[in-house]
């Protein structure tokens, strides 16, 4: 199904967040996720549906 991840359309096979982390080879401990503008608390899984808008963010160097 198609999700909008960080502003770009992306086809994925995962149907929940933890499967998506595995599919994208992402360590869930290093990122924070917003689904449709609501923050998903760390460690919580959630169901994903086609068209969901995800923001996946992490820390980078900054001043």
């Amino acid at each position: 199904m198609q999700l909008i991840i960080n502003g770009a359309k992306q086809n994925v096979s995962a149907h929940d967040l933890s499967a998506l982390f595995a599919e994208l080879k992402m360590n869930p401990q290093t990122v924070v996720v917003e689904k449709n503008d609501a923050i998903i608390p760390r460690g919580e899984n959630c169901v994903l549906q086609g068209g969901d808008k995800l923001e996946i963010v992490r820390f980078v160097g900054g001043g």
Partner: protein
């Protein structure tokens, strides 16, 4: 000096040099510079994950037991974006502290005072310790203190410009007017700029570009550490007054005249 702690909110720090982690050549150099600076507060930014390189992770290179990792809201253009970033950073498991930056104008990255105040009010109510980046406006600093910010962070000159402290008189007024620690941030390009800020009574300084883009960032971090220590010691020792004319240091009696 041994008991001269920097108190911000409910925490105490030995170091008065805050380090920003942007622009370093590598995480390893950044870590070495933070160590050389003996910094206890370092800032980080929040950005979208690069899906092609999802493993990159700066927090692995920072010891959160020894260092307060202070997320910023850099890139926020209004209070809504800034509040969103602060909440996301807290959701990542960091302490609820935030360096609040709202910079809608991209060329000079000057902070928007109105949006900053709005965001500060919201975040303080949500329990955040808020450290706002501001222009050196004493009345704005007072307003931010009144809404519960734990510091104010007036700029010396535009972010990353290395132009030093162009706002000296207003920073002096802020230091006189507010009770919360004043952390001079942005534009400090040389250790002497940091020493000057500390000599006039700033509680701390934040340095990023001047260290990260130096020829030798690790040694420059050490130079800034020494400058901050020297400036603080000078401030605590009470600088003598300036005079227009000479005042001889050697005795004026018993001079051997021909």
């Amino acid at each position: 000096m041994t008991n001269d702690k920097l108190k911000i909110g409910d925490r105490e720090f030995n170091s008065r040099l805050l380090i920003g982690t942007g622009k370093f050549g590598s995480h390893k150099i950044m870590r070495a510079a933070v160590d050389a600076a003996e910094a206890e507060i370092v800032t980080v930014a929040l950005r979208r994950v690069d899906l092609r390189n999802p493993q990159d992770q700066i927090l692995e290179h920072l010891d959160a037991k020894k260092i307060l990792i202070l997320p910023n809201t850099a890139g926020a253009r209004d209070h809504i974006e800034a509040v969103r970033m602060a909440r996301l950073a807290a959701a990542a498991g960091l302490p609820k502290w935030v360096k609040l930056e709202v910079t809608p104008e991209p060329r000079f990255l000057l902070p928007d005072p109105i949006e900053t105040l709005k965001a500060a009010e919201i975040l303080v109510k949500e329990g955040f310790k808020v450290l706002p980046y501001i222009n050196a406006d004493p009345i704005l600093a007072k307003r931010l203190e009144e809404v519960g910010c734990v510091t104010v962070m007036p700029l010396g000159s535009p972010i990353g410009s290395n132009r030093g402290i162009k706002t000296l008189d207003n920073i002096r007024i802020i230091i006189d007017l507010v009770k919360i620690p004043v952390v001079v941030d942005a534009g400090l390009g040389k250790p002497s700029d940091a020493a000057l800020a500390m000599e006039i009574g700033a509680a701390a300084v934040l340095i990023n570009t001047a260290i990260a883009t130096a020829g030798n960032p690790v040694e420059m971090a050490r130079a800034f550490k020494l400058a901050v220590t020297a400036g603080r010691l000078a401030y605590l020792s009470r600088l003598p007054s300036e005079k227009f004319a000479a005042e001889a240091s050697s005795p004026q009696s018993g001079i051997i005249h021909s």
